[in-house]
């Protein structure tokens, strides 16, 4: 009925398939939590390294247990609830922020054998299954749904605090996340166009050689747009206007303390890992190996785990990139953020999507590729010119009205 896992078609309690699914759930949950803990350490260590500092080095070897120490400290702090807050929503909001970050992991293929067009099935205890919690036919749409649900946590946290700065932070956050969701969805649509499926498993399976990795097959630009939009979705620097300390005290989580604050903090880092996993799955072939110097899979000796190790390596690259962004780029101004989102990224993503679709139709009908390319680029240029004209006119009108930007 739910198409979650083919194992569960004939569900029986206390059978091996049920056990396998439960183990998968537990592994995803535990690895998610431990990964978040390590991510916090990783981020602090890398930023410290980039800023010529040492970073956490007291708790545990190389400061590895610093996050645990911080978490324990937060646990024992007093849990404050502001007088003017909406108590129910105030308590609910941290969970709303935390849960979607976890749920996305259910649809990310975490490993398996995808070589030679195999679909990632592995055998555990004599049962064929996928190293993925769920493979719904609408996989990628579920991802979009969850990222749109993630807005609630931040929005309600800011509002229910009953205080001005958190409200400002959360209004900013929701406007930003809604704006960038469009660009995110449009750049994702190119991946769906190229791979021809919505299921995450299918998307990974179709990227079986380097030239079919979506980042190449869609022409890099959608990946760049996705990366930027995802950073904005995550509210990470340089798009962290939500919690701009210099302007808003602490943003939407100003009034939170103790374990509820810790939950927001965890959600943010969890989301970063999740988004890296999503980027790798969509654009970099997930657990697909990379052909290096003639070897189809240099990690072959790891056997069935090699896919998972590849995924891990690729995700680590993006985690590093996110930390790098944070250490390097200054925060955008609010109008710059909105201009970038609405006037550049959305039209660009839409135009690129149309161009790819045009190429696709041309291929199917056997038209000349060069003619398609020239015609497509001409139409794009015309649209870009019109858009430029329109935004110039509206900018002048706004100036006459005396608006600030």
């Amino acid at each position: 009925m739910f198409a979650v896992d083919s194992l569960l078609d004939h569900i029986k309690l206390f059978s091996i398939p049920t056990l396998i699914v439960i183990i998968k759930v537990l592994v995803v949950f535990v690895v998610g939590l431990v990964g978040t803990m390590l991510m916090v350490w990783f981020e602090r260590k890398v930023i410290a390294f980039m800023q010529n500092r040492i970073g956490p080095n007291k708790a545990g070897p190389k400061g590895l247990l610093q996050t645990l120490a911080d978490g324990t400290k937060l646990f024992f702090k007093e849990d404050l609830i502001p007088d003017k807050s909406d108590r129910f929503v105030f308590k609910l909001a941290p969970y709303l922020a935390f849960v979607p970050a976890f749920l996305v992991w259910a649809i990310i293929p975490l490993g398996g054998d995808f070589s030679n067009g195999k679909n990632g099935d592995v055998k555990i205890l004599g049962h064929v299954t996928k190293l993925q919690l769920a493979d719904p036919p609408v996989g990628v749409l579920l991802l979009l749904a969850l990222s749109s649900i993630a807005i609630y946590g931040i929005m309600l946290a800011g509002w229910s605090s009953g205080s001005k700065y958190p409200l400002l932070g959360s209004v900013r956050a929701s406007a930003q996340m809604i704006s960038y969701e469009a660009a995110l969805g449009l750049s994702l649509a190119t991946v769906i166009l190229v791979t021809g499926t919505l299921s995450t498993n299918g998307i990974v399976a179709s990227q079986f050689t380097f030239s079919r990795w979506s980042v190449i097959a869609t022409g890099v630009l959608p990946f760049a747009i996705f990366l930027i939009a995802a950073t904005a979705e995550l509210n990470r620097p340089p798009f962290d206007l939500v919690e701009a300390e210099q302007e808003l005290v602490g943003g939407f989580n100003t009034e939170y303390s103790s374990i509820r604050f810790a939950l927001f903090f965890l959600a943010e880092f969890m989301n970063t890992i999740t988004m890296s996993g999503v980027i790798v799955t969509l654009f970099f072939g997930g657990p697909q190996p990379l052909r290096i110097a003639g070897h189809a899979n240099v990690l072959q000796f790891l056997g069935p785990v090699s896919g998972t190790v590849w995924l891990l390596l690729k995700v680590l690259v993006f985690l590093y990139v996110y930390v790098w962004f944070r250490a390097t780029l200054p925060r955008l101004r609010y109008d710059q953020l909105m201009n970038l989102g609405w006037k550049l990224m959305i039209p660009l993503a839409l135009g690129w999507f149309m161009l790819l679709a045009f190429f696709r139709v041309g291929q199917d009908s056997g038209w000349n590729t060069w003619v398609i390319g020239v015609a497509g680029i001409a139409v794009m240029a015309l649209c870009a010119g019109l858009l430029q004209l329109a935004s110039k006119v509206s900018a002048r009108n706004r100036e006459r009205e005396g608006a600030m930007f």
């Binding site: 198409a3 036919p137 609408v138 749109s148 309600l156």
Partner: protein, 188 residues
């Protein structure tokens, strides 16, 4: 299993719906609406309509209710309304009439459908072909249907939405008296 899911999702839908009506606080009412939408999404999934479920969550829970909340927060009407003042005199009797009418209409429809089964729709060849695919069949069938049989209606709907957006912008940015807008790039 099916029954269990139906009962839980039904409870979510009904609980949310009752919450929307009975909660005095606008934000709580909007959150109850989200609960209802999630319940409906679960019911869709139970009926194998995964695409509808995903779209329901993305569009309604993810965009429309967020917009509601946004307006509630920005306008600062996030406190209980005084119910003794009635802005339109005819509003409440009209609501009663429409409500009773809707309930009785639905009731009649349910009772009638028990006696006369719903006539089956014959989909086009493209849709039947797509439905034969076991994995993506649902989504493919929907896409084939929307982009082939009903492409005109689909495009017209999108045009209508664009017109609505443009009209909203124009209405919201109405120039004051004595002010003219620059319409083209060359005018000064």
């Amino acid at each position: 299993m099916q029954l269990f899911v139906f009962i839980v999702a039904g409870a979510m839908v009904l609980g949310g719906a009752v919450g929307v009506v009975l909660r005095t606080h606008p934000v709580h009412a909007a959150l109850s609406l989200v609960l209802t939408l999630f319940g409906i999404a679960v019911l869709f999934i139970a009926q194998d309509a995964q695409f509808l479920a995903a779209v329901e969550v993305i569009v309604y829970a993810g965009a429309i209710v967020v917009l509601f909340l946004f307006v509630i927060m920005l306008l600062g009407i996030d406190r209980a309304e005084d119910l003794h003042v009635e802005p339109f005199k005819i509003q409440r009797p009209a609501a009663l009439v429409i409500g009773v009418g809707l309930v009785s209409l639905l009731g009649i429809a349910v009772i009638a459908s028990r006696e006369h089964p719903v006539p089956t729709v014959t989909p086009s060849q493209a849709v039947t072909d797509a439905l034969a695919d076991p994995h993506n069949g649902n989504i493919r069938a929907l896409a084939r249907d929307v982009f082939s049989d009903h492409v005109l209606a689909f495009e017209l709907t999108s045009a209508l939405l664009v017109i609505a957006v443009v009209a909203t912008v124009i209405l919201a940015r109405k120039p004051r008296k004595g002010e003219t807008y620059i319409v083209s790039g060359s005018a000064q």
